[in-house]
């Protein structure tokens, strides 16, 4: 029973990170109308920036976090015109072309990380960000600072995001574009400006996720982004592309499933089993469990 509780706690913390990633991914899909496949790779890039800044500033946590968040926002802003140009070229929304473009961005990020940072070796985050000891421990159940941060920040950020989406004028604009871009333009919502706002917001979400991943994983490697990006796309499809509530449920479920597999099955099978489950769902219900919103 102790193993079960410990793994559920682990699963909830990693699941909340998946939720943040899927939320940022879906925001870009709904408002900017792109499949930003490499969004998690941008997040891993931010993790590397955090590591670099911590190293250069003698582990100044505030500067590290600021650098992580601003690098994700900056990266999103730099890539935004490329996506816009593709849309303009084709004179219509073509999410498939944006996915291919995003994949190319992802390969570049992964290859740059494996060549230019730490000689391609995995990076280790210092204790200042990961926390040195568990906050509490009963038998096999131990709660690490990273888990508490991931869960609490995850809940706060996702709640804040839903409030923004459903209770503010900007949120209404986001939803209007997601529902009907042509109609939104007719009623005077600036599509490009709102699209850029979604890039900024997803950048902030990505930067915060990078900090949480650093706290949870304590390390990162160039291949991490690829693995997470495949999971995020899979979660998003299983939930129903663009479905925010579905993303929340499936993201948490994936985290718990992975943690339980790690707890009960020996060997490196957790990713494969998670992918098998998602594969079955996708093959049986390609439009997702909660329905597509795009």
């Amino acid at each position: 029973m102790q193993v079960f509780i410990a793994q559920i706690l682990n699963g909830l913390s990693i699941g909340s990170v998946y939720v943040l990633l899927v939320t940022g991914f879906n925001l870009l899909l709904l408002v900017a109308m792109i499949i930003h496949f490499s969004y998690p790779q941008v997040v891993v890039f931010s993790m590397y920036i955090i590591w670099l800044v911590l190293k250069m500033t003698n582990n100044n946590l505030l500067l590290g976090i600021l650098a992580g968040v601003s690098s994700a926002v900056l990266f999103n802003f730099i890539s935004a015109p490329l996506f816009q140009k593709i849309m303009k070229n084709r004179e219509e929304v073509d999410i498939n072309a944006t996915m291919v473009l995003s994949m190319a961005i992802g390969w570049i990020i992964t290859d740059v990380l494996s060549h230019a940072f730490n000689n391609g070796l995995p990076i280790q985050f210092p204790e200042e960000i990961t926390g040195s000891r568990p906050l509490f421990r009963i038998g096999l159940i131990s709660i690490l600072p990273g888990q508490v941060w991931a869960l609490s920040i995850g809940i706060i950020v996702v709640s804040g995001f839903f409030i923004l989406l459903y209770k503010t004028k900007a949120g209404r604009a986001f939803r209007a574009i997601a529902e009907d871009p042509a109609g939104a333009r007719l009623v005077g919502i600036p599509l490009v400006k709102t699209g850029f706002q979604s890039y900024a917001l997803s950048g902030v979400l990505g930067g915060l996720t990078a900090v949480l991943l650093a706290m949870l994983f304590h390390s990162a490697s160039p291949g991490l982004g690829e693995q997470v990006s495949h999971k995020v796309l899979a979660v998003s499809i299983v939930a129903g592309l663009g479905n925010l509530t579905g993303g929340l449920v499936v993201g948490l479920a994936l985290g718990i499933l992975e943690a339980l597999v790690q707890g009960y099955i020996s060997g490196n099978w957790s990713n494969a089993i998670a992918f098998v489950v998602m594969l079955i769902v996708i093959m049986v219900k390609p439009k997702g469990l909660f329905g597509m919103k795009v």
Partner: protein
């Protein structure tokens, strides 16, 4: 034949064939990355059969094609008409699952890989010529089949689906059936190419089938041009060959170079360098020249 030339020619042929394996399903907007997993499955299976069960290479190669085709057919029953992103993620999940299984299977060498595959034809020189012969034979055969497909009513139906799925459906095109056909073809091809890919190096290793392969084949397809089969055929030798002339320090950034090229092409020349229009213009010019020669 120098070893470097052998590797260049054989990998170029593999790149052409695998880009075609992506090209055919992309005719109806499906990016079918399961082909990479199929290369791995058929390749390792054939390697095991040749090395441990002493099955002749030709039989192992045929088994590779058949296994690839069966997997492609079974999967296509579910995702024959699925949207692009669903097909993409099914491909990625298959790659992950296959990699994890291979990693944990000691009979195929696990993370260490499978080494010591025999020379086909008894000696290294014969081995190289046989591999090249089979690969380029396949290029000719597949080139012909894809040409016939492109110029048939099925090819036109695929083009209609590419332009507008709803419209194609209302015209009576069976999207699922066509999806199943193209997916099964591409998986069959990938299965056989996977076997040959391992036998080029006489070994199999998980690193041969990494996600970077998808990057290479996608770049060949999109930079060459995804709207005609000639795009990958022309782009593959150039894209693989040109970086070989770069200094080693630059060569190691090959994936970054491919990524930048792909982005530039998507933004500046969305259909790639060889488009249907350019093929049509060249064809027209050639036929006019021929007419002129006949008249004179």
């Amino acid at each position: 034949m120098p070893l470097s030339l052998y590797y260049y020619l054989s990998i170029t042929a593999v790149n052409i064939l695998m880009s075609w394996a992506l090209y055919v399903p992309y005719r109806m907007t499906q990016l079918h990355f399961i082909t990479i997993a199929n290369m791995m499955i058929s390749g390792y299976l054939a390697g095991y059969l040749v090395l441990h069960v002493h099955v002749p290479f030709v039989c192992a190669l045929l088994i590779g094609f058949v296994v690839g085709g069966i997997i492609g057919y079974v999967v296509s029953l579910f995702i024959g008409d699925a949207p692009t992103f669903a097909v993409v993620i099914v491909g990625f999940t298959f790659i992950y699952i296959t990699r994890t299984i291979v990693e944990n299977l000691s009979i195929v060498g696990g993370t260490m890989g499978m080494f010591g595959l025999p020379n086909i034809g008894g000696n290294p020189v014969a081995h190289r010529w046989i591999i090249l012969g089979i690969l380029y034979g396949l290029v000719v055969l597949c080139g012909f089949l894809i040409y016939r497909f492109d110029h048939s009513s099925i090819g036109r139906a695929a083009s209609a689906i590419f332009v507008d799925k709803e419209l194609a459906s209302s015209l009576g095109i069976d999207i699922k059936k066509l999806g199943m056909l193209v997916q099964t073809f591409s998986c069959t091809l990938a299965g056989g190419v996977g076997v040959l890919y391992g036998f080029i190096y006489k070994s199999f290793h998980l690193d041969f089938f990494g996600f970077a392969l998808i990057g290479v084949y996608m770049t060949v397809l999109f930079v060459g041009g995804y709207s005609t089969q000639w795009g990958p055929l022309i782009a593959a030798p150039i894209l693989y060959g040109v970086p070989l002339f770069f200094p080693p320090a630059v060569q190691s950034w090959r994936i970054v170079i491919y990524g930048v090229m792909l982005i530039l092409v998507l933004v500046l020349k969305p259909e790639g360098f060889i488009t249907r229009k350019s093929v049509y213009s060249i064809g027209l010019a050639l036929s006019r020249k021929r007419e002129k020669v006949i008249r004179s």
